[in-house]
């Protein structure tokens, strides 16, 4: 599961380095912008069936790979 989420994230960011920097701020570092975030949301829905509405989640709840992992695992489990 974790691997899958990170793979989707890396694809959205077009950068494998997100897998090695779990606590980096994705937005501040330029790894992710609004469009890459949209790609992440599409990817999570298409590949894991996890639906996340960007309007309902504060950006600082999803700004690092680790936070994304936790949130998605929680949503997938519920």
């Amino acid at each position: 599961m974790e691997e899958m989420i990170l793979a989707i994230l890396a694809e959205a960011c077009e950068d494998e380095s997100v897998k090695d920097h779990l606590d980096i701020d994705l937005f501040e570092s330029g790894l992710m912008d609004s469009l890459a975030f949209a790609e992440l949301v599409f990817g999570l829905e298409d590949k894991l069936g996890v639906i996340i509405s960007p309007s309902e989640i504060e950006r600082d709840k999803m700004n690092t790979p680790r936070k994304i992992l936790e949130l998605v695992k929680e949503r997938a489990g519920s």
Binding site: C13, E14, D15, S17, H21, S29, G30, L31, S34, L35, A36, F37, A38, E39, V41, F42, I51, S53, P54, S55, E56, R59
Partner: protein
């Protein structure tokens, strides 16, 4: 046929106190209330007429006027004041970093600069918002219509990325704009007559996609509802802004639609009056079009194509369920007054089905680049069609025609379209080379589904041992030189760049090693 300026005066007389423009800023979401900064038709007409009188009285030359700001209602007043006084305007958005703004200012060397946001410039007087208002209110009356730009005068100059690292200005005449509008109002089920509509503005005014929403709404007596840049980066604010807009005509890049579609609330219930979505600026993928059709089953989607050099767009096609069976989607058929030829490297016309360079001839082709005759001569020309001589423009886009439809097939050179923004890779490379410690740089597009997704920079530079940190440092330094959309997403460090036999950077070798 009425000119855009005649039509605006007519609409202003008829619509008076009704809103012509409003903008949703971040503080409208963060507790600032529902008072959107706006402008009425009467205000637009009066202020622009009086500011035109001020320009006429105080400026000695007809040099274009730079208008700087971000979606402020007064930017519209400034645009119209310039053209009503016989001067072209050159819109520059605040997303352009200071060094680049200075390059544009030096290139235009305006006699006066109109700025709705703070701007440091010593080359000419800069009128800020307070000064603009005072200038307009200090005039006894509006300037007469006889002073306005005529048909072959330049109406606006929009700067786009140039291959050497400095931007180039595309000059669009009033006739070009009028010809574009005459076609634009026929899009979808038609936009002129009947009732006035709310148009959505996504693009900054320095991007010519905004010409589509701005002038179609001004011509048809509409109301343009603009989304500020900050709002477009916050999904909560963005959805709130959209639900406040009452938008009936959507104009954006496909990428912006993708951004909105990532939230399930982006659907008919949010924009119940939406009847037409107009796209331009980059490839519309089948995936995006299908998602839109599902979210807005009653609205029509129209895909268009065209470079800034031929006034926003010159082809259009309705995206129907039948059309969606094709992939990739065509960009459509020419507007009346435009002819598209597919040519080989020698300039010979190619038959249907063959791939070549897209060459545009017609009544909306630019008169050329501002103060760049050599560059203009290289890509602009003329051609006689049915006894009339039209200007032509070699787009550098690869394409093919089949059954009257044009298919876009990417670039033939080092220019890319990223999220609708046009970027010369040489522009990014030239600016990277200005950074400390960078010896060589090559920038390559990353593509997926036939669409450019991001840029990767390959740099030969001093390294600290932590490439990730070095990349962050270059990214931060580059931000001072180029707009955010030109910043590569990824930096790859190499000891030196691979070279081809004739001493050029071997881009093919890089493309292989970077993925």
């Amino acid at each position: 046929m009425k000119t855009i300026l005649e039509k605006i005066r007519e609409n202003a007389a008829a619509l008076g106190e009704q809103t012509v423009y409003s903008v949703y800023y971040m503080n409208n979401y963060a507790g600032g209330g529902r008072e959107f900064p706006h402008l009425t038709w009467k205000e637009l007409d009066e202020y622009s007429g009086k500011l035109a009188a001020y320009l006429h009285r105080t400026c000695r030359t007809k040099t274009p006027v730079v208008v700087y700001g971000h979606k402020d209602p007064w930017m519209l007043v400034c645009f119209l004041a310039c053209v009503r006084s016989g001067r072209a305007y050159c819109p520059v958005d605040t997303s352009v970093p200071p060094a680049r703004v200075r390059a544009i200012l030096e290139d235009v060397s305006p006699e006066t600069v109109l700025a709705t946001e703070p701007l440091e410039y010593s080359g000419a007087p800069v009128l800020d918002k307070a000064a603009l208002l005072a200038a307009a209110e200090g005039e006894p009356g509006q300037l007469g219509p006889e002073h306005a730009v005529s048909g072959e005068d330049t109406f606006y100059i929009i700067f786009t990325s140039g291959s050497t690292g400095t931007p180039k200005g595309v000059q669009i005449t009033r006739n070009c704009l009028d010809c574009f509008i005459q076609w634009g109002i026929t899009l979808g089920r038609g936009l002129d007559g009947g009732r006035r509509r709310v148009f959505l503005n996504q693009a900054p005014f320095s991007f010519d996609l905004s010409v589509m929403d701005l002038y179609l709404s001004l011509y048809t007596g509409g109301h343009l509802f603009a989304l500020s840049r900050e709002v477009q980066g916050d999904m909560g604010a963005l959805l709130d802004a959209l639900s406040c807009s009452g938008a009936e005509v959507w104009v954006s890049t496909p990428s912006f639609a993708d951004l909105c579609l990532s939230d399930k609330k982006f659907r008919e219930e949010l924009l119940p009056r939406l009847e037409l979505l107009l796209f331009c600026g980059e490839t519309l993928t089948n995936r995006t079009a299908e998602r839109l059709a599902a979210a807005f089953p009653r609205a029509e989607t129209v895909n268009t194509y065209g470079p800034t050099e031929s006034t926003v767009a010159v082809t259009q096609v309705r995206v129907t369920p039948e059309l969606l069976r094709q992939s990739p989607l065509p960009v459509g058929a020419e507007k009346p007054g435009t002819w598209i030829f597919i040519q080989d490297a020698q300039g010979n016309d190619l038959p249907d089905g063959e791939v070549g360079e897209i060459v545009i001839a017609g009544d909306s082709v630019s008169t050329g680049y501002w103060k760049k005759p050599e560059l203009t001569g290289r890509v602009f020309g003329s051609r006689s069609i049915g006894g009339t001589v039209y200007r032509t423009y070699r787009t550098g886009d690869a394409g093919t025609k089949r059954g009257g439809q044009l298919y876009y097939q990417g670039r033939m050179d080092f220019q890319v379209k990223l999220h609708g923004y046009r970027i010369e890779l040489g522009d990014v490379e030239g600016n990277l080379l200005k950074l400390d410690g960078v010896r060589a740089a090559a920038v390559l597009p990353v593509e997926r589904d036939g669409k450019v997704r991001s840029l990767t920079a390959y740099v030969a530079a001093e390294r600290s041992g932590d490439d990730f940190a070095d990349g962050q440092r270059l990214r931060a330094a580059l931000k001072a030189l180029v707009p955010d959309y030109m910043i590569p997403k990824k930096f790859v460090f190499l000891d030196r760049l691979p070279m081809t036999g004739n001493g050029k950077v071997d881009r093919k070798a890089l493309g292989g090693s970077g993925k």
